[in-house]
Each structure stands twice: as structure tokens, then as C-alpha cells.
């Protein structure tokens, strides 16, 4: 299997993309920004904001952070707990 990251989608974002989990290819130097750009090509991605919150391996990340093979990347709608 080639280098890839797991992308998790939740709540309204999962509804928009029609799935709660994707596998996306990553290479040397792939950033969160790159992954979001690739995600934006998917049907329904127009319903996501231009710069959603992202977590890498369960911690909030910046768009410039690197994504490595095997990472868990979550695209996080505005939180509404409580």
C-alpha cells in the first residue's frame, strides 16, 4: 500500500462529503494545506468553509503542518459540545 493518511470527517462535514472517513495519498512534504486542497476537489466539499479546523493525530494543527503516512487527520466543524 502506498503512503497515505486517514482523513476523518464529522457531523455537518461528514454529511457534506457523504462519508466520515477517507484515505488520501501523502508524500514527502505533504502539508495539511495540501490535504485540504485535495479534499476541496471532492463532491460536496463546497459546503465546507475555506479554512476548517484540522487535527493531526488528535491535536489541533496548523495548515503548514506536515502530514505523514499513517497519520490521522480530522477535519473539525465548529465544536458545539456542552
Amino acid at each position: 500500500m502506498s503512503a497515505s493518511a486517514t482523513v476523518l470527517l464529522f457531523a455537518a462535514y461528514a454529511d457534506a462529503l457523504g462519508t466520515s472517513q477517507l484515505t488520501m495519498p501523502v508524500g514527502d512534504g505533504t502539508t495539511v494545506r495540501d490535504l485540504l486542497a485535495a479534499l476541496a476537489q471532492r463532491p460536496g466539499a463546497d459546503r465546507l468553509p475555506p479554512s476548517p479546523l484540522v487535527a493531526v493525530n488528535r491535536r489541533y494543527a496548523s495548515v503548514g503542518d506536515l502530514v505523514r503516512s499513517g497519520d490521522e487527520v480530522a477535519v473539525i466543524p465548529p465544536v458545539a459540545g456542552g
Binding site: F10, D15, I76, V79, G81, G82
Partner: protein, 146 residues
Amino acid sequence: MRSAIVTRPLDPGALLREVATTRCGATALFVGTVRDLHDGRAVTGMDYEAYAAMAERELADIVAEAVARFGTGQVVCEHRTGALALGDASVAIAVAHPHRSPAFDACRYVIEELKRRVPIWKREHYADGTRQWVDPTGAARPRAAR
């Protein structure tokens, strides 16, 4: 200190007993419950969804921060996920401290940070049969889904 994301009903009384110690003279408790109205629309129930692994870690961080900031180890928080009915408790936070001011402040700290950082989402069920994910930013709301 303890925190958890759970699917069973919350028991605020049990949290009060859990944080109780004779070293502490003040206990503050917050309970969030499903209410029947949001932005003027009649609500009939609520689904809570979490990114559970991250939510558990983030909530544990927040509780540890409260312990460090306010100088008490007696902090417990539980958040429930799944389908909740009107009046059901979605979150409960109990803090015991020797003094009341930091007890209140620590309890407040946990709920405010929880609402800011913990990846949990809720979908309201409306009296007209539709459902919608709550967007607390007030940004372009996702269309009622499913």
C-alpha cells in the same frame, strides 16, 4: 481528577460524591441539559457526536489545566454522547476546593474551554421533524441533513 466521554445517563449526584473530601469547604457543579428552544425554534431532542479519542484527550487536558490553575485535584467532568431527550444532562462538571471562589472559577473554566476546544457536535431535532447540526459560530449553516 477524572474526565470521560460516556454514552450512559449522567449522574450529577455521583460526581458530587466523587469530588467530596473534608479538606474542601466548597463544591461547584455545572450541569448542561437539553432544552426545548434554540434560536426561537422548538427542539424535541438532540444527537451528540464526538471525535471520541480526541475529545477524551482534550477534555483530560482541560481538567488537568483546571487542577493546575486553581489548586485543587478535585475536578471531575463527564460529557455524554448519543441521542438525548429534552431535559437529559449532556455535560456535568464538579469541582471541590477549600474555598468557594476558585471552586466556581475552576468549574467555569472547564465548561468554557470544553465549549471552545472539545470536538463534540450536536444535531437538534425540531418539532417540524427536521434536524440540523448546531453551528455555534453562526456562520453559513449547513443545510438540514438526512
